[in-house]
Amino acid sequence: MNWLNTVLLILGAFLAVFVECAWETPRQWLGVQVDLLPCLVVYAGLTSETVTLALVTALGALWFDSLSANPLGGSLPALILLGGVVRRYRDLIVQDDLRVQMMLGGAASASAPGITLLFLLSLGYEPLVGWFTLWQVGVMALSGALAAPAVFWTCRFLSRTFSYPQIRESSFRPDRELKRGRH
């Protein structure tokens, strides 16, 4: 298991949550905060092992809830579902295609808040839901679609930079080696 990749993804989730809390510009301009966590979970689901995906999902959701008025664990089911579905069908997803990345990011960013809201409502909480929620989900989907390629590129770049380079297969074949005799 590549622990460096795991650490980088967890660090990414941590920074994503912090930026969402401290960076107020999207909320001031659009009335909506952009959420990068679903894109990161999609990336982890596509490229990482189960343990990494589980860690990123659990820690990301817990950090998100710790800075929010959500009950602790409130955003976890949505991310579990998202990561699980992507992990299940990752062999069928063309992950290098830009359009696919955008579609995945958009769908994940739109569905995560929806599932979380349903979960909170089913627990008896009363989050702010109304017609303006449609606008919020729309903006989140659009921002997720735009952010997904950037998230994918950054994660791959960091993973390449900090990992050992893959050893290329040598062209040397021992069965074709010339054995020199005495003559």
Partner: protein
């Protein structure tokens, strides 16, 4: 079918959700504070950077502008001193009259200035984080305000960091009063259905309320959380509600909740 490691991970995560959701609220709040503690160094760093940025910006302000501002502030200070003296006199008179009538003495508000360090990352709650906690004398439910008016109340209070539930959050309902001449109509300030966080609904007003746009809305003091008389905002418009049994008004908040940098916490006895 699911492979074994995936099944184990899924089971662990589902168990985690079940355990967290069923935790008692006090334990959950403590756990939340512990998880939020990971962000303290980053919040500290951001605050320091903002401070350094502000100082750097101050360093390039021309001397002439500063002198003009000092002069203006000195004049304002003098005028406020006179008003303060007058207010002291009135307060003493008020205390004497209250004593004669046997009404409990009014206590002066003690305020603590705190800095807003972050905002709720979820779009379905309205809350902010401040850089003060129980070590600064804060405790849950204390009112929070800015110079313009009410902002909200304290929610979860940590050692050096607290959550403020803003007015308009479902967890922060405010007993309110419309104050206009002889009109004294009580209502409940509840979340609005507008994208603008400054527009809220004032519900449970009496059916025959003579509401007009621009009427002032203040806290009524009922409910025990907010003292009477804190400015909330003004009436925008009104409509009959609950099949004409009551009236509902839209209220524009006096405080701009989108641009909160520093807020006052009211330290009630």
């Amino acid at each position: 079918m699911l492979k074994r490691p995936r099944l184990i991970a899924l089971t662990i995560l589902i168990l985690l959700v079940l355990v967290l959701v069923s935790l008692p609220s006090r334990k959950a709040a403590q756990l939340k504070l512990a998880m939020g503690g990971f962000f303290l160094p980053l919040f500290g760093l951001t605050s320091s950077l903002r401070l350094a940025g502000g100082q750097a910006a101050n360093a390039v302000v021309p001397r002439k502008v500063l002198l003009t501002q000092i002069e203006q502030l000195q004049r304002e200070n003098q005028s406020l001193r006179f008003r303060g003296q007058q207010a002291d006199e009135l307060l003493q008179e008020n205390d004497r009259l209250r004593q004669y009538l046997g009404i409990q003495k009014q206590t002066l508000w003690k305020l603590k200035l705190v800095r807003v360090i972050g905002r709720d990352p979820a779009n379905w709650w309205r809350s902010v984080l401040i850089d003060a906690g129980s070590r600064d004398g804060l405790r849950p439910n204390l009112p929070v305000m800015v110079n313009e008016g009410l902002v909200g109340r304290l929610g979860v209070v940590g050692l050096g960091q607290s959550q403020v539930l803003l007015v308009g959050d479902p967890g922060c309902l405010v007993a309110s009063l419309i104050q206009d001449g002889n009109l004294r109509d009580h209502g409940m300030l509840a979340p609005g259905d507008s994208l603008d966080p400054r527009i809220l609904n004032l519900t449970h007003l009496s059916r025959n309320s003579a509401l007009k746009p621009g009427q002032k809305v203040v806290t009524s003091g009922l409910g025990g959380l907010f003292p009477r008389g804190i400015v909330i905002g003004e009436v925008v418009d009104s409509r009959p509600a609950e099949y004409g049994l009551s009236t509902e008004a839209r209220v524009k908040l006096a405080a701009n909740l989108n641009h909160l940098e520093e807020v006052w916490v009211l330290l009630l006895p």
